[in-house]
Symmetry: C2
């Protein structure tokens, strides 16, 4: 099956010419962004999000609330840790990833409802990183017990301005089937 | 190997008498909470966190920043979704879980540094939920290439006031070996 890519937002500073618009379903109501129902998705389909600019203040604010460890809170204290400098909490990277996906990086009908998934943080996210998310549909499983929906497995990479992957996630999302016309 | 449990915080309203303090290593510096090095851990060891009280305002604040979907933002809009009412973003549940673990729910030397893991959200987290985290060491693997540390696999369940698991996570954490005395 051919990979189909939909570029939803410009990704500043990245020359990814391989991405092209294609395979988008017809919007039924003519307003708002095109949303993909289970029936519209195919394995290999790709989506690219807009981008998010991080800074030290955001890193410290998130960490202060949810992950108060020295390497996420204070530049000087972070120097002497495994990170060698201020780094974002992995959960902050995960939360930014979700924001980018909700804002258009994964335009699924019914919203992004995750049942769970797997996460890796191969390298730290740093202040002044500019992040975007590239997602690919890797499995589509219509539900046997719930004919109105199915489970879609999406692999999403969160990538910094140097093209380095800071988070790799494989998530299972609940996606509705397209309702009968009417 | 016998399961060893360390109760670090009282968990209000839960009658878990089975948890008892035991197997804690001697604190070397005599100050602050006892922290566990790789050498102090054993498979089956359990930790229980303090608790966190959620409310609708926290749910909406997190969602507004990181997961702006109707079922996380607005009670009325949430009624007509799969959630049937306001629910926290799974990433909010994950972030609160991290906070509870950092605040004492997983007292590991060197801090909680995750390389990645697996997450499931078997049921939604709701306003007024009171959450705590119960963690268990399920695997310990000293590093071959880095003798000063190892990788510890921890299974953590985030549990509400009704004893229901709202998040199940298996995470791989980097834990240092106890440094030579001196």
């Amino acid at each position: 099956m051919a990979a189909v890519a939909v570029r939803l937002f410009a990704v500043p500073g990245r020359g990814r010419k391989a991405l092209s618009r294609g395979g988008a379903p017809t919007a039924k109501n003519g307003a708002g962004p095109t949303l993909f129902y289970l029936d519209d998705l195919e394995v290999g389909q790709r989506f690219v999000s807009g981008s998010h600019e991080l800074d030290a203040a955001q890193i410290k604010a998130f960490a202060g609330q949810f992950d108060p460890q020295p390497f996420h809170l204070d530049e000087a204290a972070a120097e002497n840790t495994m990170f060698g400098g201020l780094a974002a909490s992995g959960w902050h990277t995960a939360a930014i990833t979700m924001k980018l996906m909700v804002e258009g990086g994964a335009p699924l009908a019914g919203g992004l409802i995750g049942a769970g998934g797997e996460l890796r943080w191969p390298r730290p996210t740093r202040p002044d990183d500019r992040l975007h998310v590239e997602s690919e549909i890797i499995e589509i499983a219509p539900s046997r017990s719930r004919p109105e929906r199915g489970m879609v497995t999406v692999r999403s990479e969160t990538i910094n301005q140097r093209g380095e992957v800071v988070q790799a996630m494989t998530a299972k999302l609940v996606v509705p089937r397209r309702p009968a016309a009417g």
